[in-house]
């Protein structure tokens, strides 16, 4: 999926602002594993966001959907997590959906054509050559922001450097509380090269 550099820089800036708030107010804010529960607390206490997080009575199982984000006309937000996910996946899904709150943009990110959005996302999301509309791009930006919050590029670079380019993905996954699939993806040479000039 093609992403505009300016969009990625914007989402990384939002992630860094979140890190600043988190480090200012959350205990042990500089620990490797950042708390997504404390991130949510920062939303309420310091960012003035009205966000409700709910557990769906629907098991994630092999569903392609792990979480949902809803923006409401009154300015509040709702996040829904599917049941029965592992701790790391649940953290990552909640973190990504919380970033949709910070990235919400009435002119760029919003979409209520659900069929069209899912159709476009399903066909574009994992194809390098695709060039989707902005609501689908925002799905990717929220994931990038979540990764920057949970495992910042500077840490990724240090991990690769200290491991001689051969990181222990499972150890990184455990230390930062992120699914190993995403750790491997974001530590890959391709992703590292993409972010090198943007961070």
């Amino acid at each position: 999926m093609y992403l505009q550099d300016d969009d990625v820089k914007h989402c990384l800036e939002i992630a860094r602002e979140m890190v600043d708030v988190y480090q200012r107010y959350a205990l042990m804010g500089k620990a490797s594993m950042r708390s997504v529960d404390d991130m949510e607390w920062c939303f309420r206490e310091y960012l003035g966001k009205t966000v409700v997080v709910r557990d769906l009575q629907l098991e994630a199982g092999d569903s392609d959907i792990r979480g949902l984000f809803l923006a409401l006309a009154d300015g509040s937000y709702e996040i829904y997590l599917l049941g029965d996910m592992g701790d790391r996946e649940r953290r990552f899904v909640k973190c990504k959906e919380l970033f949709h709150v910070l990235l919400d943009d009435e002119t760029k990110s919003r979409n209520m054509d659900i069929f069209g959005h899912v159709q476009e996302a399903a066909t574009c999301f994992f194809k390098a050559e695709s060039n989707p509309t902005s609501p689908v791009v925002w799905e990717a930006l929220a994931e990038i922001a979540a990764m920057e919050f949970l495992l910042p590029f500077a840490d990724r670079k240090a991990i690769i450097s200290s491991s001689g380019g051969n990181p222990d993905y499972e150890a990184v996954s455990a230390r930062y509380g992120i699914p190993q699939l995403f750790v491997e993806e974001y530590l890959s040479p391709h992703y590292m090269a993409e972010f090198e000039n943007l961070v």
């Binding site: 959350a26 205990l27 594993m33 708390s35 997504v36 529960d37 404390d38 607390w41 409700v52 997080v53 709910r54 557990d55 769906l56 009575q57 629907l58 092999d62 569903s63 392609d64 959907i65 792990r66 979480g67 949902l68 984000f69 809803l70 923006a71 409401l72 006309a73 009154d74 996040i79 829904y80 997590l81 599917l82 701790d87 953290r91 899904v93 909640k94 990504k96 959906e97 949709h100 990110s109 919003r110 979409n111 209520m112 054509d113 659900i114 069929f115 959005h117 899912v118 159709q119 996302a121 399903a122 066909t123 999301f125 994992f126 609501p135 925002w138 799905e139 929220a142 509380g177 699939l181």
Partner: protein, 71 residues
């Protein structure tokens, strides 16, 4: 048959979309799993999740338990 299934999925999603709009929803986003599931399967998963939302089949979320904040 695939076209019929796509139409069913589209009708179902549009009905759910209308219910969400009535609740004042102005944007919907999803966390998509990394899979190669066929589009019809993805549509069904989306519809099932949205159906749980509009039907009120949810509880307040349990904390992740990763907080280090003193309560």
């Amino acid at each position: 048959m695939a076209m019929v299934n796509d139409m069913n999925a589209k009708d179902r999603l549009q009905a759910l979309e209308a219910q969400l709009r009535e609740r004042g929803v102005v944007d919907v986003k999803f966390f998509f799993n990394r899979s190669n599931k066929a589009l019809s399967g993805v549509m069904a998963d989306v519809a099932n999740a949205l159906d749980a939302v509009v039907s009120g089949r949810f509880d307040n979320a349990k904390p992740l338990g990763d907080s280090v904040r003193a309560v």
